[in-house]
């Protein structure tokens, strides 16, 4: 293991790096880390043993600071063409800072749950449970996908004049979701199984697709909707209750753990499952549980790389790091816990003061202008990582991400880009589908 002083130095560098980029809408820490590795490499500027700790610092910072972009810089169009997230509603009410505080409550709770779980529960409980259930991961995955389709709540249909009109209005949205899932899946299948993108981009070939689905489409909606920049109240006050916070922590931790441990199941899918299991309701509880969920999903998944008797590689960052160096000892595992706590403390303060600053000066820089800049940067990142075809993939996936918004369905249907090809592969049908699509 590297000396403690180096460990602290690189962890701090990770937190700083993560904090500086994570508040920007559309930026994802995994993409930026991949870009960093692609451009600078690891081993020259930074010792390879330090990379996991740098990554932890950056991921913790992302899990905390990204609250800023989702609260202050996401679409909140007064006309509400699309349904709003609770954080967006808080922003429209001038309570963006309160939403960030609620998220931070969740993120701190998530950090504590994660560290306590990692120290006292995970090493004993996770390996046998994982061993007993891991052969059935495909079952869980396909079950969640089927449930996503079956449980889509029709947001329209009530006001149709005839039964058939009502049925069509409801099913228009459901069918839209299915369409988005399968189109995303076909794109993901092509990206994963063909030479569309250069082989040199092995670790980043999915990056432009995900930037398009979630980052670029979000930024474009910001530009198109031109949301009003409403005055924000920077007061340190939240409306919630201890009961709601505890319930949200429980639900968020459950969803985050499911997503962290099992491959392909993302934080959103985990949250869907846990939200139904614990029957959550209330905007405050939703935002708190998001904070818990995201910390456990992102940081917890990465932490599994450190767990000596399990050592699971979960998430793009873990794959990126493990290609360079995989931690091996319990002392590294314990050091990782310390780094998580330290990084969480720093990230909390950074997010809190940044939120206060943004709340006070919210209408200085319009989201629309910031979104133009981010859109250009996202195209550049895609080009640097995957070349000109990556930019083409970015445009196609952006269109699919926009379709999800237009159909008023769950954006998570875009995860078909990952889920469908993986399911096809796990069930041994890749060759058949290649033939079906005329690709081989």
């Amino acid at each position: 293991m590297i000396p403690l002083s180096d460990l602290l130095l690189w962890s701090f560098a990770g937190v700083l790096f993560g904090s500086l980029i994570s508040w920007i809408p559309g930026f994802h820490i995994f993409n930026i880390m991949a870009l960093l590795v692609a451009v600078f490499g690891v081993g020259e500027l930074m010792p390879v043993q330090a990379f996991p700790f740098f990554a932890i610092g950056a991921i913790v910072a992302y899990a905390f600071v990204s609250a800023i972009s989702s609260v202050y810089f996401s679409v909140a169009d007064e006309s509400a063409v699309f349904l709003l997230f609770p954080t967006q509603r808080y922003l429209l009410l001038g309570r963006g800072h309160e939403a960030v505080l609620l998220y931070l409550i969740g993120a701190v709770a998530g950090t504590l749950v994660l560290v306590l779980g990692a120290l006292f529960i995970f090493p004993k409980v996770l390996p046998p449970i994982y061993q007993a259930t891991s052969p059935y991961i495909t079952y869980f995955l396909v079950a969640i996908v089927v449930f996503m389709f079956m449980s889509e709540w029709p947001k329209e249909g009530d006001r149709g004049k005839t039964p058939l009109q009502r049925l069509w209005l409801a099913w228009r949205q459901i069918l839209g979701g299915i369409l988005v899932f399968f189109i995303s899946g076909i794109l993901g299948f092509i990206v994963m199984n063909t030479n569309l993108l250069p082989t040199t981009s092995a670790y980043t070939r999915l990056t432009p697709m995900f930037i398009g689905f979630f980052g670029m489409s979000w930024v474009l909606l910001n530009i198109l909707s031109n949301p009003p920049m409403l005055e924000q109240v920077p007061e340190d006050k939240v409306e919630s209750s201890i009961y709601n916070a505890l319930k949200a922590t429980f639900g968020g931790a459950l969803g985050g753990t499911i997503a962290a441990v099992y491959p392909i199941i993302t934080g959103g899918m985990g949250a869907l499952v846990a939200g139904h299991m614990t029957s959550q309701r209330g905007d405050d509880a939703f935002i708190i549980s998001q904070g818990v969920n995201r910390v456990i999903y992102y940081v917890g998944a990465f932490t599994l790389l450190f767990l000596p008797n399990l050592r699971l590689t979960r998430g793009a960052a873990a794959w990126l790091v493990s290609s360079v160096y995989t931690p091996k000892s319990y002392s590294e595992y314990l050091a990782a816990m310390g780094v998580i706590l330290l990084s969480a403390g720093i990230s909390f303060l950074f997010t809190y003061y940044l939120s206060k600053f943004i709340a006070r000066s919210f209408n200085v820089l319009h989201i629309k202008k910031l979104s133009y800049i981010v859109a250009v940067v996202l195209v550049v990142i895609s080009y640097l990582l995957t070349g000109p075809m990556g930019v083409v993939v970015l445009f196609v996936s952006t269109a699919i991400g926009m379709m999800a918004a237009a159909f008023n369905t769950r954006r998570s249907y875009c995860l078909g880009g990952l889920v469908l090809p993986v399911l096809i592969s796990m069930t041994g049908h890749t060759g058949y589908f290649m033939h079906l699509l005329g690709l081989g």
């Binding site: 509400a80 349904l83 509603r89 007993a132 259930t133 396909v142 089927v146 449980s151 459901i174």
Partner: protein, 466 residues
Amino acid sequence: MRGFTHYISGLAAATFFAALVGDLRLGILIPVIAAAAAYFPDFVDFKFGKFFARRDYEIDPAPWDEKKHYAPKLVKISELSEKNRYQFFAVEGKVEEILVRGSGKLTYKVLREDGTEETVTDSYNSIVFTLNDGTGKITVEAFGDDYEFFEEEFGKIEEGREMLVFGYVDVDEDGSLKLVVSDAPHPQGIAETIARAIEEAYHEGERIVKIHNIRLPGDVYRQFFVHLDPPKREVRVEMGPIVTPGGVAITDKPPEYRRYGIAKVSVPFIKTYPKPTRIDSFSGPEIAFRRATFKGKTVVKDRFLPWHHGFSHSLTMGIIIGLVVFAFFKLIGYSHATELAIASMIGQWLHVFEDQLGFMGSNLLPPITKDVIPGFKLGESGSGLTNFSTAWLMIAFMIWNFNRFTDPRPIPMSDAKLLLLLAWPSIIGFGIAILRSFKLRREIAELMDYYTNLEAFEELEEVGGI
């Protein structure tokens, strides 16, 4: 129970069959059908049944703007008529004539928390003017708190001024229409329609009322409550604050003079659930009012979401699902069609049983049984405690089954000990739910005792009313 709780029960049901677990290990994912079967009753009801259900009365307090999909709807004056009374609309036009600018005292009745009425007198400012939008003209009134808001928003109202006015439609004593400036519909229309439906149900047998919710710009909703008060023979509707879909109130309630709508009902009725019906986000409910017999008397009973928990939620449907699954999968040559069919049937039956733990109950074995068997009232369908306890139990069963059907066992432990270790959170959860349910049952029993005295109230009413 929530959808996922049922769904995961189906997932767990499949794992009780070694052959199906073996298939899953080989990557054959067909057993997921059992989970789909377990969710099927809700899928059918909420994705199909709901849209085909009959509606005798459709209450839409604030019709949506067809393009924006929220209220208030921008209408032409010529489109308004007496049937729009109390509904919330927006009208754009030119101020033609200021009829009255005034101030004075306003006296109105308000309803206190304990159900008593109180007469309140407030001082007020008001304005009455006519608005013309080219298709006709309408009288616009603003008074009290609404006048203050109106003036704050538009400044001094002058003749010739173009403006967008929103409020509820009302009918003057002379039969002419007017628009009363407000930020919500008047609840009187909702109360009157429900009261009429109850009275008709008493004479005709059944009336189904669909109540739409009130969606406003910004994905927020005007919350309102429907109280059925059988002893007082009243339907009371109370307008609440504007809330987010998560239920967070972001405004105060409307001023008291337009917060309540009360309609008297001339026939006896009872309410089967001890809480008022709350309407806010997602969609508004359907309530069926049905003639029934209670303690030997003819009364009208309410039934929430009458299209829900019907045939789809019966054990009979489980048998049909089992037969269909068996026939289909046998036909396509799936070697474990029998196990899958039984797992699917059990999954659907688990759904029926889990829902039976709540309030609504189901008609369990149609056509042998004809009526709904009331639920066990262990908790409401949205109860986090019962949902989590059930879902966790199912996860415990899955891990337990995966372990015992794998050789060598990944978790080397006896079956009983492992199940106990896995299931203790559910055991504690159900224990708490059962303890809590005693309180709820007591409340319902008290309510039913209260209804038993309905006759006494009738007598009181005959000698002068309550």
